[in-house]
């Protein structure tokens, strides 16, 4: 029956009663009076005498207060009025107990604030759809290595899928692109961009706001230099001028025609910093030894409307397992293991999901601890208020009425705490965004928004009810006589409940401490690994000679002269260029074919990291020579090509063979063999946790093309960072127009490579600390209350001969017993939690003994500190004074 009309009437009628109570009462009185008049008249008309009629009517209809009450109770407005009265009463009471209120509010603000902040971060990253139309139709597709791990796809695979798959509307592949933008007058700027296949924007479902998308004929070799730019780049470098479309701009020294500008909100979730897009322009003829068959592209796809994920997975799997004659496959891209098809959303958050879920779980434990603490305080308060409650019961308040009043109080408390919590959350979100590791996807979507506010309000209301229920139940449980007659002295009931709560708090604290401890220990282990290089006193930076464009001679010359200039900088001990730096995000692999083991290479993953370096690079990085010799000045362009390989390369590709003198191809197979002249130790390239991959080092001069972007490593005699300005000046003395980016010390790179782990560890540490403090205050609160209530008993004990040490031990033992139970229960939870975060650990077991021992010691110390003051007070009790007071 709840039509809008009835809802409206119910609302307005109720509001009229609430706002104009007098009018409403007068209406009822008038109506009843009229009723009575008519009834009287009717009686008289029936022949009853007027006096008798009046008497009868008064007897039957006299009490209009009762009718008024009946009518009031029937409407919703009365419950509201009651709630308002309860809230008013609660506010007055809570203001009277300012310190109690502040303590609870602060506790809850911490819990609700932290939970809301984490919600603000986790909700958009894990649950909000990606910022594209019909984002649930987007897929990420990866190849699968022989070992089953996801692998970037080849252009060949993309071509085959694009023509064979029936369930997909658009496929697209892309790779990173870092062009240098030169605009007349202003400084050159290194941009993040992408090289993409033609249907890229079609797959994402976003069209340029100005201009057009790529054409088929533009995504071919020599298809013309065209570029689509982001809204940000457009406003930043082109003053938001719509006429930029059709104009030429210089990227890497080449003229590109701008053909489109993307809309303002557009962002690539897999490369949030990308600002420019150009066609991939790979060769559809798929030459077997070309880049078209390199595993270095990432693929996305947009499902046809109405196609289920499972259907697409079957379709693509079917294609992978059934090669057809029209589509030739290379042995290393034979799709024998099938393809990995996942929703794009899942793929984007896969790496961070375990950490975010662990953090979300942890913050719920913090909220739980805060609630438990607040409940405990409310229980104690309830015991003190028994007198007041008994009085109200005696005056006729029902139990439910009292419970309602008490729960209203706790909800008011929780809402006040929640309001403060919103401030905490807003600050917390800021801190999270600042602290967030660069790899966290969708950081731009993290903010304190309406959803977070709604969440905070809902959590506050829920917390209010949860923390209020038990204390209200307890406080209203007893017989009214009891409370009125003697003041609280021997009330023990609530203490049992509070003890249980303290145990819970200790258990929660232990779980959080263990998890935080495991993460911190993992970080320690991680930083203790042998990186294969020595990271102190090394400055690194990246220089692009892209403006020299296609001229390899000029490019090589520039790098040579820049290195010479750097080498004479005072304080620079050794310097070298490299095509990729460890732990910097660089990951550049080429197919490697070993002469002695050609047969083996055809099937297995035959790629190796390619480092094109100058000879002193090894000295600058402190990479150790294991056998043979390092690259040196003999290895010039004209000399026979010499390479140095890593120990892993020898182990995997040349098992049981003497590596020195072996020959291999890297990348191109149409060149003379390269000869291995030395073996160096493994270097951690992708991350600290990834053990050394196969690597081949070659001099920049002997590598078959001139890299236009190289990184510099400079070993300094003193502080590496302070060398930066001089090194920069030295490079610019050769050519001031080349952008220098990613200036960092090697140590900082190492630290940053573990940023995600550190992020999780720091947050968990904060949470664990909060839980520890809450547990300690919980123990203190319970013991302190117990001692106050038992002072007389202590006095009696003292009078009967108990020594101070006895009393101290009694109270102390009681507190520590609670802590011990909490530790045991917490340990059970911690084992489970540790197991759940195994994926986030490095180098230690989830049952790491050191962590457990340290955490238990820490909790014991904190508990002992919390027990001390109450125990001391108990031991100081004066028996005479105590007994006399009675």
């Amino acid at each position: 029956m709840a039509t809008p009309r009835t809802a409206w009437r119910t609302l307005t009628a109720g509001l009229r009663v609430l706002l104009r109570r007098d009018n409403a009462d007068a209406d009822v009185a008038d109506e009843l009076a009229h009723f009575a008049t008519e009834a009287e008249a009717a009686l008289i008309a029936d022949g009853v005498s007027p006096d008798e009629a009046r008497r009868r009517v008064r007897r039957e209809y006299g009490d209009d207060t009762r009718v008024r009450e009946q009518m009031r109770d029937a409407g919703w407005e009365e419950s509201l009025a009651l709630a308002v009265r309860d809230v008013g009463y609660a506010v007055r009471r809570l203001r009277r107990d300012a310190s109690f209120t502040v303590v609870i509010c602060a506790t809850l603000a911490l819990g609700i604030g932290a939970t809301t902040a984490i919600f603000s971060a986790v909700n958009p990253v894990l649950f909000r759809p990606l910022p594209y139309p019909d984002a649930n139709r987007l897929l990420a597709i990866a190849d699968r290595s022989a070992a089953g791990a996801p692998l970037d796809v080849t252009f060949g695979t993309y071509r085959e899928l694009a023509s064979r798959a029936r369930t997909v509307e658009a496929f697209a592949v892309f790779k990173p692109w870092q062009p240098t933008l030169l605009t007349g007058g202003s400084e050159p700027e290194r941009l993040d961009g992408q090289r993409v296949s033609v249907a890229y924007f079609q797959a994402l479902g976003v069209r340029p706001a100005i201009g057009r998308e790529f054409l088929d004929e533009e995504d071919r070799p020599r298809g013309g230099a065209v570029v689509i730019i982001s809204h940000g780049l457009w406003t930043r470098r082109f003053a938001g001028d719509p006429a930029v479309v059709g104009r030429q701009v210089r990227f890497d020294g080449y003229p590109f025609t701008v053909i489109g500008v993307m809309p303002a909100g557009f962002r690539v979730v897999q490369a949030p910093t990308a600002e420019a897009w150009a066609p991939l322009q790979y060769d559809p003829a798929l030459p077997p030894d070309g880049r078209e068959w390199g595993h270095h592209l990432r693929m996305i796809a947009r499902l046809r409307r109405g196609v289920a994920l499972a259907a697409a997975q079957r379709d693509i799997e079917e294609i992978a397992t059934h090669p057809v004659i029209e589509f030739r496959r290379m042995p290393w891209a034979g799709l024998a293991q099938g393809l990995v098809v996942t929703p794009l959303q899942e793929e984007v958050v896969r790496a961070v999901r375990p950490a975010l879920i662990a953090i979300a779980g942890a913050v719920l434990l913090v909220l739980l601890a805060a609630c438990v603490n607040a409940t405990s305080l409310l229980l104690a308060r309830g015991a003190q208020r028994r007198g007041e409650l008994a009085m109200r019961t005696a005056l006729g308040a029902g139990r439910w009425r009292l419970i309602r009043q008490l729960v209203t109080e706790s909800v008011v408390l929780a809402c006040a705490g929640g309001a403060a919590g919103v401030v905490v959350a807003a600050a917390g979100v800021q801190a999270l965004v600042v602290m967030a590791p660069a790899a966290l996807p969708r950081v731009d979507a993290i903010r304190f928004d309406g959803a977070a506010l709604a969440f905070a309000i809902a959590v506050s209301a829920l917390v209010g009810i949860v923390i209020g229920a038990l204390p209200a139940w307890q406080a209203t449980r007893r017989d009214p006589h009891d409370g009125l007659q003697h003041a609280p002295r021997t009330v023990a009931g609530h203490r049992g409940a509070r003890s249980v709560l303290v145990v819970a708090e200790v258990a929660v604290a232990l779980v959080l401490l263990v998890v935080a401890g495991l993460l911190v220990r993992s970080l320690q282990q991680l930083f203790a690994v042998d990186t294969g290089f020595s990271s102190s006193h090394v400055l690194t930076l990246q220089v692009s000679a892209a403006d020299r464009g296609a001229d390899p001679v000029a490019t090589r010359q520039f790098f040579e002269r820049a290195l010479a200039a750097v080498q004479v900088v005072p304080g620079a001990e050794a310097a070298g260029w490299t095509s990729q730096l460890p732990l910097s995000g660089d990951f550049d692999k080429y197919g490697a074919q070993v002469e002695a083991n050609v047969a083996m290479d055809a099937t297995a993953d035959a790629s190796a990291l390619r480092y094109a370096v100058t000879p002193r690079y090894f000295d600058a990085m402190g990479i150790h020579l294991r056998r043979g010799r390092l690259l040196d000045d003999r290895d010039r362009a004209v000399a026979p090509v010499a390479v140095v390989v890593s120990e892993s390369f020898v182990k995997h590709r040349l098992p049981g063979l003497e590596p020195i003198g072996q020959r291999l191809h890297l990348g191109r197979t149409d060149l003379p063999w390269y000869t291995i002249v030395g073996v160096v130790g493994d270097v951690r390239q992708a991350s600290l946790a990834t053990e050394g991959a196969d690597a081949v080092y070659i001099t920049t001069e002997q590598w078959f093309f001139a890299d236009s972007v190289l990184s510099l490593a400079v070993r300094s005699s003193g502080d590496a960072a302070s060398l930066a300005p001089a090194v920069r000046r030295a490079i610019w003395s050769v050519d001031p127009s080349e952008p220098i980016v990613r200036v960092s010390t090697l140590g900082a790179l190492v630290a940053a490579s573990a940023a995600e782990r550190r992020f999780a560890a720091v947050i968990l540490e904060c949470f664990a600390l909060v839980a520890l403090v809450l547990a300690a205050t919980g123990i203190y609160g319970v013991l302190s209350g117990a001692v106050t209530e038992r002072l007389r008993e202590m006095g009696v004990r003292a009078a009967l001969g108990a020594s101070r040490a006895d009393l101290l031990a009694l109270v102390f033992g009681q507190g520590m017993a609670l802590a011990a139970i909490g530790v045991v229960l917490g340990a059970i939870g911690a084992v489970w939690a540790g197991h759940a975060i195994t994926a986030m650990l490095f180098g230690i077991s989830p049952l790491d003994t050191t962590t457990y021992v340290m955490v238990t010691v820490l909790l014991t110390i904190a508990s002992a500190a919390a027990c001390w003051a109450p125990a001391w007070r108990a031991s100081r009790v004066d028996p005479v004074a105590m007994l006399r007071a009675d």
Binding site: M1, T3, R5, T6, R9, T10, A13, D27, V28, D30, E31, L32, A33, H34, F35, T37, E38, A39, A42, E60, Y61, R66, V67, Q70, M71, A74, G75
Partner: protein, 108 residues
């Protein structure tokens, strides 16, 4: 015999009474008593609560009128929604009553 009218039935009786003509509170009570030959006796409290409920449910409209002796009286009119509700409830009631009657006769 005094029977305290149960809520749902009272609503039905009020709606039926008002379907004849607009009426004030006492008129409704009196009519219910008369027509039911005293089987249903409506006390003013229940009646007022029921009227408030029906008015909020938009089944009836209440309006103040001035009486000849200068006092205010509230007259109630059945709304279109109220008429629909009356039809539905009357139908349901008849069906139920018939079923009960059949049951009782069968046992006798």
């Amino acid at each position: 015999m005094d029977t305290d009218v149960i809520q749902g039935t009272l609503d039905l009786l009020i709606l039926k009474t008002l379907s004849l003509e607009p009426m004030h509170g006492f008129g409704i009570a009196r009519r219910v008593e008369q027509v039911s030959r005293g089987v249903f006796k409506v006390n003013p409290g229940s009646l007022m609560v029921a009227l408030q409920r029906l008015e909020r449910a938009a089944a009836i409209d209440g309006e103040w009128h001035q009486t000849e002796n200068g006092r205010r009286a509230r007259f109630y009119t059945l709304t279109r929604a109220g008429r629909k509700r009356l039809d539905a409830e009357a139908e349901a009631w008849t069906r139920r009553a018939a079923a009960v009657a059949r049951l009782l006769n069968a046992q006798a």
